[in-house]
C-alpha cells in the first residue's frame, strides 16, 4: 500500500513482485505517453511536491476502504517523458476481480482531475503547449 512520485522509469514486473500476496485478483493499469497528432515529441509533467504524495496516498486509502482492497500501489512519474514512455501505473489487489477492476478505475478517475499534475506537450519543433483538462474527466468523477 504505497504511492510514489519520481522521474525515473518504473519496472512493472518489479512493482508486482510480492504485491497483493494472498489476493484472488490483481488489476494493473499503465498510462503511456501518446501522440495523437503525429507531431509530438514528449510530455513534460509538472507536479506539486509534498501535496502530490499526500493526495495519491489519500486516494489510495479511500479506494482501499471502499473496495476492500488487500493491497494497492500508485506510481506516477514527472519530468520530460518521450512518446511511448510509461507515465504512471496503478495496481489494485482484492479477493475478487470486480472490486479490483472498479478500484483501479476509481483511482484513475481521481488521479486524472484531482491529483496535482500538469501536462505540457512538447512538439517535435520544440513548441510547448499546456494540456487542457477534459470535461469528460471531470464528469467521470460523478460516477463515484
Amino acid at each position: 500500500m504505497s504511492a510514489r512520485v519520481h522521474s525515473a522509469p518504473f519496472d512493472l514486473a518489479a512493482e508486482l513482485a510480492g504485491f497483493g500476496a494472498g489476493a484472488g485478483a490483481i488489476v494493473t493499469f499503465t498510462g503511456i505517453v501518446r501522440d495523437d497528432t503525429g507531431a509530438m515529441a514528449a510530455l513534460e509533467i509538472e507536479h506539486y511536491p509534498g501535496m502530490t504524495e499526500r493526495a495519491l496516498s489519500d486516494y489510495g486509502r479511500q479506494a482501499a476502504e471502499r473496495f476492500a482492497l488487500t493491497d494497492w500501489r500508485i506510481v506516477h512519474r514527472h519530468g520530460r517523458l518521450p512518446v511511448g514512455e510509461p507515465i504512471m501505473m496503478v495496481a489494485t489487489a482484492a479477493r475478487h476481480r470486480h472490486a479490483a477492476f472498479q478500484a483501479a478505475d476509481y483511482l484513475m478517475d481521481w488521479l486524472k482531475s484531482r491529483a496535482p499534475f500538469w501536462k505540457r506537450e512538447i512538439g517535435r519543433d520544440g513548441a510547448a503547449r499546456w494540456v487542457d483538462a477534459k470535461a469528460s474527466d471531470e464528469d467521470a468523477l460523478s460516477r463515484w
Binding site: 498510462g31 499534475f117 499546456w130
Partner: protein
C-alpha cells in the same frame, strides 16, 4: 500574516516565479486573489479568469471561499491533468 504562495503550470509562467512569501490581511482565498491581482500586471493577468484557477490551502484542495486564517501555504494552478 506571512504566507507562502505557490504557482504551478501557466500561472507560474504568467507570474514569472514559482513561489513568493507575502504579507497579507486576506482571510479567504478570494480575498488573497484580490490582494495578489492588485500587485502588478503579471499577477492581474494570471488571475484574470478565475474559472480557470484551482487552489490548495496547506496542500489540501480548496475553494475560492475557503478560509486561510491559519494557513501557511496557498497554491494556485490550472485544472489538474494527471494520469
Amino acid at each position: 500574516m506571512t504566507l507562502d504562495v505557490l504557482y504551478f503550470a501557466w500561472l507560474r509562467e504568467r507570474i514569472g516565479q514559482p513561489r513568493e512569501r507575502i504579507e497579507t490581511a486576506a482571510t479567504t482565498v478570494r480575498d488573497l486573489i484580490a490582494d495578489l491581482a492588485a500587485r502588478d500586471d503579471w499577477h492581474a493577468a494570471a488571475f484574470a479568469d478565475l474559472a480557470a484557477v484551482r487552489c490548495a490551502v496547506d496542500q489540501q484542495l480548496a475553494d475560492l471561499d475557503s478560509p486561510i486564517a491559519d494557513a501557511r501555504e496557498v497554491a494556485f494552478f490550472p485544472p489538474m491533468t494527471g494520469g
